[in-house]
Symmetry: C3
């Protein structure tokens, strides 16, 4: 069953457009791309990695490590950096870009666009009263949309999704299977993957004489345009203000975002990371996998938080930190080296 | 779409009671609360943070850092500590409490009580044979309740919830959407948030000649009264004895509790923390975010486990530990300082 | 409600076979097991821990720490290592094995086999066009099986499960409630626990002038025979090749497996661990709880990655590593000791 050497984009699982000419690829890629060597008027049928691509496939290279594969590839055309053009085999055309991965994303999306809304409502879905559903919305089996919710044009509400009372979802959103969304306003072109939980109560309680007493969580979750939120991630609604996810931000699987947190635009939060309540991220912040941020701190724009980092205080804009507690990358690795040296000396 | 400066408790998303008089607020808050300055016979309509509250809103202060907001607030009344009473602006009444956050929880709950059971069963729900359903139980669309389960009075079983065979759920519980519960007995007033998984097989297997062989997991999950379990958290049932969650314990999102674990009363387990199999927590233990406890250890009552802590052995009652491996807080931060100093010297 | 001293295998929750004779137990256990002391022709009715077992129960001991319980047990027969045979009380028979935990797994499974498929399709389930369903398949309420999927003989598709277009599931698989599977081929006897997410898009995007642009994820998830995947775990499909989980591998709850990752046979991945994209594990690799592996590295066969370990580079076959960054176990604990000593000196 190992498909390591099979072609990607199996047509039983993926829609496929095309074939496309070299000119159409160039147009899709946009930007500064240009052909190296003639395209021989071939029409391309799909994308594939260098080692399995055929003369009808488009392939890709941006890492020097895979140069040996380039020299042996049978791909019809390869998208690559200017630096590698002279390594193209004779029978293979090149599409040269200073941003080859971006060009690749666009060409691959030309062949395999995200499946559009089917525009139909499965009869088993439950739609409450006063729900506003735009044009061309797909609603899957056993989806539940509660009273007063709004779903924008072209959006997909997958099987078993739960959209709570008064929730607003913009246009061309993709709400995956088994997602639950309550107490939220969601922009356009937002993707929520399977099992994401948006808008449940934050973790808030006071200590009373008989035990903990719940503090009502009275804010919403605001998700701006073009956000993606991964499978089984959880984003709690705000307690007194809203939890906020800025436009273009990408959140991976199994991530926790606490109540009142505010993420800027185009942040990246990798899987199993956690952002505690009321913490604020500037724009373009990256949080690597399994990192954790305590509550009520500020992370400056473009800061990068390393994997498994434990952040206990504010981080300046543009800083690179790692370790638990967080420190600059250089300091962390210097500490590691110092301790190793002292430890060997001590036991030597 | 940024609602940072909007009022919380949007009536399209949240139920609202009231308005209430100052006397009613005092009664709801209970305890030692008392008014400072006259209430002017105003009737209050909701709760709001200091900077957006109006004369009809109740607000709150317990942190010195927000004193500048107090001095400018337009709130009708503010719940606050005795220490801050003299900072109240002239037009604002005070409700003074030595436990202002608890008073706040209660007053906010007066305005925004948790939505009660609708007391109705959606016709799409599947109810097995021999199921006992109490009075005033709400059952949402596509919920599944299998044979022999019992649901107590006033409980809510939300859309898409799955309640397995013979499971017992007490009174006034809130079982969120997409929750699954099997092999479990659950007390009263328990909340399980969306996607929580209760009672599946623990991670138990023996090494056989052809690979791993599953060890049957024959215990239950016992959840006492007033427990809350967060979104997408997982609690495995016991292997030979039961997994046990003591009364009043609060578990956040994405937490893992292994088979046979035993949590005492009023423990706090913050998001993405994990408790391995057969580990036992005394009462009032706190486990911060992303901490992990190995199996078969004991954590004494009132111990506090810091964020990202890796606990490999027993922890004494009342201890504060952090680090991986776990050590006393003081030792951890002294180590951090020592290593920084040595590292600078070493590279200096 | 505490059942610490109750018998496991409560018949309201668990199926039970038997009773069985000592000879039947020996046959089920297989291997080198043999009775010590005569079995008195008793027929055994179930399994139980030493301290609650009765004369009709089978019990188990493999840890010296529980020897005091053995001496007081009332169990009819105890499965145990040769080393403990002479501690058996007079009225208790022994089943002696050099692999007592494996024998126990098999005997417990004799009494409590996993519930078989009911072989029936709930009328509420949604089955698409061209779906191939084998013999004796159980399909629960509100399950969704999309066009062209194949389900092998004897498999169970639980309530609310979602099986996407063209997905292939082998024989005698157990697909838990609320699972979603898309873009995947799954072997025989695979268990996916509740809320597992298989086959969603990996975390892949390029940086464009207006923000991130999604890179189509065109591979599948291949899961070989006898794999188990825990509750709320997430396994992303490949981007250009497939994500691959080798035969017999066991994955616990809340685990993340990134796109293109390849796990060998009989690996163990404990809860809340994460394997980043394109990382490869050999056979028999163990990854303990909350460990994280960066992308594009190789872990040699039989390597063991400790709890909370942060692995940033390749790990050799058979190595034991822990710490963040990962290092050999011995080095890690030597570092801990060194730093403690230096720190005390420094502050002393």
């Amino acid at each position: 069953m190992d498909r390591l050497d099979n072609l990607p984009g199996d047509q039983r699982f993926f829609e496929r457009s095309g074939p496309f000419s070299l000119e159409q690829l160039v147009e899709a890629a946009g930007g500064d791309i240009h052909p190296a060597q003639s395209g021989k008027n071939v029409r391309f049928r799909g994308v594939a990695p260098l080692h399995v691509a055929t003369a009808e496939d488009v392939s890709f290279l941006d890492n020097r490590r895979y140069l040996p594969l380039l020299e042996k590839t049978k791909a019809g055309v390869v998208i690559l950096s200017p630096a590698f053009v002279d390594k193209l085999p004779a029978q293979t055309a090149g599409l040269v870009s200073k941003a080859p991965y971006l060009a690749w994303a666009r060409v691959a999306s030309l062949f395999h666009p995200a499946p559009p809304s089917k525009g139909s409502r499965h009869p088993s879905a439950y739609i409450g009263e006063g729900v506003e559903i735009g044009d061309d919305v797909e609603i899957g089996p056993f989806a539940v949309i509660e009273n007063g919710a709004k779903i924008g044009n072209g959006s997909i509400i997958s099987a078993h999704a739960f959209i709570g009372k008064s929730v607003e979802i913009g246009e061309r959103c993709r709400i995956g299977s088994h997602v639950s969304v309550t107490h939220a306003k969601i922009g356009n072109r937002v993707s929520l993957y399977s099992g994401a939980r948006i808008g449940q109560d934050g973790f808030g309680f006071a200590v009373g004489p008989q035990g903990f007493e719940t503090v009502p969580q009275l804010g919403l979750v605001i998700i701006e345009d073009d956000v993606e939120i991964g499978a089984n991630s959880t984003i709690d609604r705000g307690s007194m203000r809203d939890t906020f996810i800025g436009a273009g931000t990408r959140i991976d699987n199994l991530v926790q975002i606490g109540h009142n947190a505010r993420l800027g635009k185009c942040c990246i939060v990798v899987s199993q990371a956690g952002v505690s309540g009321s913490t604020e991220l500037g724009d373009f912040v990256t949080i690597a996998a399994q990192a954790g941020l305590i509550g009520h701190i500020k992370i400056g724009e473009k800061a990068r938080i390393g994997a498994q980092c434990g952040v206990m205080s504010d981080v300046e804009a543009g800083a690179d930190v790692i370790g638990s507690p967080a420190m600059p990358f250089r300091e962390f690795f210097r500490n590691v080296a110092t301790l190793r040296k002292l430890s060997r000396k001590s036991s030597g």
